[in-house]
Amino acid sequence: MLKFFNELGVYFILLGKVFKKPDKTKVFWQQLVFEIDKIGLDSLGIVFIISIFMGGVVAIQTAFNIDSPWFPVYSVGFTVRQSVILEFSPTIVSLILAGKVGSHIASEIGTMRVTEQIDALDIMGVNSANYLILPKIVAAMIINPILVVISMFLGIFGGWLACYFTGLVMSAHYVYGVQLDFRGYDVFYALVKTIVFAFLITSASSYKGYYVEGGSLEVGKASTKAVVYSSILIILFNLILTQMLLS
């Protein structure tokens, strides 16, 4: 328990160093653009594949499970939309990004630590935590919601593709279900969750990488821990935010 509070304290001290005015604003913007490209655009492929298949699977499962005259056929489109917007896109995509981006951040910063590159920054007088971590956090908080919105469209499209090719639901019924009783607040809720998850993924992974001690073995362990911590935090905050925003 004492170790947990000690780690929590060190994490908040690190955040205190991160959220300072950058040493050079121009360099910060350059880093930000670079990180948006690395975190966001490099993840487009995996988001595309997961979202399409996720939507397709939800559509097929729903269609099989509501095989009853009491449920209208358009329920499939409605269920796919609600599942994808409320849960699958923000949470599953964030969990996938925790694996891809989180491990990358922890290993990148961890390697810089064990090869003394962070010491080199500190000796030059650069706030290494701010220089390395702030652009990653800000980039993820900007690009992840965009990825999630793309995922929402792709997920719903994937559901339509599954219905169309399997012939379980007619295209017009599916589209009617997708449009039925749409609430903008659901998208707002999903985006708030995504922004919080983006912060958790990048800050927790950076923390694990920044305080690595040892060599390449420890960098590997830090990378694994970064994914585990980020995933647990996502699940935990998913519950908290859902209670706060939807109750």
Partner: protein
């Protein structure tokens, strides 16, 4: 000039530096020697501010580094250049970007001025036409030279070198040693080199401090080492049978 006064440092109850006091002079290559685990790296890290000493003071030309805030320390740090054991070049940058990094962070120079300065520094360390290479494409000696170029990019008043010859062949080691010595004299820098390579000590060491079990055990010039009857110093310097025979002669 850097003055270290009564510096103590412990880790988890282990007293690593014991009341170390010394002066590192300007325009000279000051060598810190000692066995592995003697505390020389901890001393260097205390001086550059990577470790906070438990007690004592460190003066950079009469400015006490200990107890200063981040902003005040930052001003002194801009005057420091450091060559790390593994060079510590930024992997994501090429050679030119590595050397230009401190200029980007701390100066308002135009791109052409920065490029001129980068090329001057690279030429000074005898490296040309390597600007666009990444650190992974460089040999160990070239990496060290790029790291020296980065260290001198901001015209430092103080240069720290941690094991500059580790992993290098004897010939390249001499090149790096001579380069450090030449730069020290040319720009009148206070240079501190942490090493256990006795070839370097005899080649370019102007002032040598021997650390033994966390204590400053002996200090003098390389000529004085030869005449010294300090047992611990002689055990370290003349560790091999060959060196012992040379000492006897």
């Amino acid at each position: 000039m850097i003055e270290v006064k009564n510096v103590n440092k412990s880790f988890n109850g282990k007293h690593v530096l014991k009341d170390v006091s010394t002066i590192f002079e300007q325009g000279k290559v000051n060598m810190v020697i000692g066995q592995s685990g003697s505390g020389k790296t901890v001393l260097i890290k205390c001086i550059v501010g990577l470790f906070e000493p438990d007690e004592g003071s460190i003066f950079f030309n009469e400015r006490n580094f200990i107890g200063l805030g981040f902003k005040e320390k930052k001003e002194i740090r801009k005057e420091i250049g450091m060559l790390f054991q593994g060079a510590a070049l930024f992997d994501s940058f090429n050679v030119e970007e590595n050397v230009m990094f401190p200029l980007n962070m701390f100066t308002e120079m135009s791109l052409s001025e920065k490029l001129d300065r980068v090329n001057f520094c690279l030429k000074r360390v005898n490296l040309e036409n390597v600007n666009k290479l990444s650190p992974s494409e460089l040999s160990g000696g070239m990496k060290k030279r790029v790291a020296i170029a980065r260290a001198i990019a901001m015209n430092p008043r103080y240069l720290f070198c941690d094991e500059p010859n580790s992993g290098l062949d004897p010939k390249t080691s001499i090149l790096i040693d001579n380069l450090i010595s030449e730069i020290t004299k040319e720009f009148n820098i206070t240079t501190i080199v942490n090493t256990h390579d006795m070839n370097s000590v005899f080649e370019v060491g102007d002032n040598i401090a021997f650390i033994y079990k966390g204590l400053l055990w002996w200090q003098g010039t390389y000529l004085e080492i030869m005449d010294s009857d300090n047992t611990e110093l002689n055990d370290f310097v003349y560790a091999t049978e060959l060196m012992k025979k040379i000492k006897k002669k």
